[in-house]
Amino acid sequence: MKVAKEGRFGVHGGQYIPETLMNAINELTKAYEFYKNDPEFQKELSDLFNNYANRPSLLYYAEKMTKDLGGAKIYLKREDLNHTGAHKVNNVLGQALLAKKMGKTRLIAETGAGQHGVATATAAALMGMECVVFMGEEDTKRQALNVYRMRLLGATVIPVTTGTRTLKDAVSEAMREWTTRVEDTHYCLGSVMGPHPFPTIVRDFQAVISKEIKEQILEKEGRLPDVVMACVGGGSNAIGTFYHFIEDKDVQLIGCEAAGRGIDTFETAATVNTGRLGIFHGMKSYFCQDEYGQIAPVYSISAGLDYPGVGPEHAYLHDIGRASYVPITDDEAVDAFEYLSRTEGIIPAIESSHAIAHAMKIAPTMDKDKIIVVTVSGRGDKDCAAIARYRGENIYE
């Protein structure tokens, strides 16, 4: 008897993980199947969202930006206003609550920019759980402030010194740690990636973003937007932004990938644009890799998008043509970072700036009666020192 193929998005997804983790993954799948339909669980989660994480987040009409660009009307979904400063908290509160219900007492997580690590450390502090965060050594330097925040919140941060010392290595190390200790530990994966059921669980917790956008835009404009867009690394804020619009075929979905120094260079992390189908980190999806399947050492100025793969549901939305994925370079993202700061008084995360950059490109080409919603996945305070350095200014955090 063959076990049914669960957690597939077209050919993508699956459960490509060591046998040691299979029972833990099955236990998680069962628990999630139960709690996602449990009114008590949903009530507790809503309470955390609304009374702790500052949801619903604003849908803000960026009037100055709209006028300046002279085209489509631009709304910003302000996930940067969430507690801890990014969309990551939506998923983390959900998973921490789930882990607690499952009787786990310890959370482990990977982090790139540090936003997911900070969110996990926050949830662990709130719920009285132990927390260990794996972070590429390179990223601990790029995002030193977030390392301090995690420690302040009571978490242990372990700098990962293998491979490229970035997000992919942090994921590998967190997986290795999970295989040594599954009994009391939940791996709080930060994006819509990894083995089933993670891509589904994380999507469901992030889907609150598009659920709110839909309600808010209908209230403000009385109609659905023409375009919704977000940046894509693993793709959690993007899938959250897309999810409740997938069935609304007139709403165009755009994911903005990190092109680094350009998709014609090796220094890129634009997976859908430059990768090919592969199997890694528990899932089948698109990956940046060489001809022998060795995973590529990707690059982006943004630690949060500096990942060689993309979530399986995005790979599927790309395959069926439902969403399109565009590359945005470091230079374009930094310009957008500065533009939104000056134009709207909103400092976006360098990750989110990739989506802002694409809005700046397409808004002027669209009619004034069109509507674009851009998700600002996080706030940019953490990036100020790095961007200053990028512009040749040496400031100390």
């Binding site: 193929k5 459960q15 046998e19 040691t20 983790l21 029972n23 295989t179 980190h281």
Partner: protein
């Protein structure tokens, strides 16, 4: 019938693991010949992968050294072609799913068969995903080796029933690497396997000395040793073959 069974005819089987191309292909060639000469019954040849998520630091290091030295899947195939002129014991590959998938699963497994590779161990292919490669393994008569872990519990029977070649019993939680203690209940795992199949069981992960090997061989048909051998390679580099040879001899004698 699987040729792998022959490895378990000569008493308890000793199975060394060697990462191909660490530090270079020529050394791997010589290490394999030495291991065979000194009593290895089956050899697990690792094809390096950039991100080996089931490995501890020692084997991660071997993967990095091998890739830095320019090893590719095709170069490993060339190595096996040369080895097969001298070596008749069963050989299996150990690598990650993406190495096989990206080469083209059909082409990779067909090549294995043509070169005389008897089995494939892929740690990121659990029972639920074996459809990914099993149809090709059946087509070309290469055994897809199943792994069983201390956490497998009620999954052991399901896995063992469909197992081919041998069953890789993971000794303890975590990744590969030398360790001093093992899961308490490995013997209950092998006993469960015995109830449903006569496919041989070999225990691996963390076994590094003759005493541990002797203990493990009492509850299984074979013992797999990786990190301890990789450490010898890391220490002696190109001079490693004779050191690996004497280590294999000592281990094989301990388990007979």
């Amino acid at each position: 019938m699987s040729k792998i069974k022959e490895a378990f005819k000569n008493g308890k089987a000793f199975i060394p693991f060697i990462t191909c191309g660490d530090p270079d292909i020529e050394t791997t060639y010589n290490v394999v010949l030495e291991a065979v000469k000194n009593g290895a019954d089956l050899i697990e040849l690792g094809i390096p992968f950039s991100d080996p998520t089931a490995e501890g630091p020692v084997i991660q290091g071997a993967n990095i050294r091998a890739l830095a030295g320019g090893v590719t899947t095709d170069k490993v195939f060339e190595l096996v072609k040369r080895l097969r002129k001298e070596v008749t014991i069963p050989l299996v590959f150990m690598t990650y799913a993406n190495v096989v998938f990206s080469y083209g699963s059909d082409k990779f497994i067909k090549t294995c068969s043509e070169l005389g590779i008897d089995g494939l161990i892929i740690p990121d292919i659990p029972y639920e995903e074996k459809e990914e490669f099993e149809p090709y393994c059946e087509k070309y008569d290469v055994d897809l080796i199943s792994m069983v872990a201390p956490t497998s519990e009620d999954r052991v029977t399901m896995i063992a029933k469909e197992a081919k070649g041998f069953i890789y019993v993971v000794s303890s939680m975590g990744v590969t690497g030398v360790r001093s203690s093992f899961a308490n209940d490995i013997s209950s795992v092998t006993a469960k396997i015995r109830e449903v199949t006569d496919v041989p069981c070999a225990i691996g992960f963390g076994i590094s000395n003759p005493e541990q090997a002797a203990n493990m061989s009492k509850i299984a048909d074979g013992v797999i040793v990786g990190s301890a051998i990789i450490k010898i390679l890391a220490e002696h580099g190109k001079d490693a073959p004779s050191y690996v040879g004497s280590f294999v001899k000592e281990m094989k004698e301990a388990i007979i």
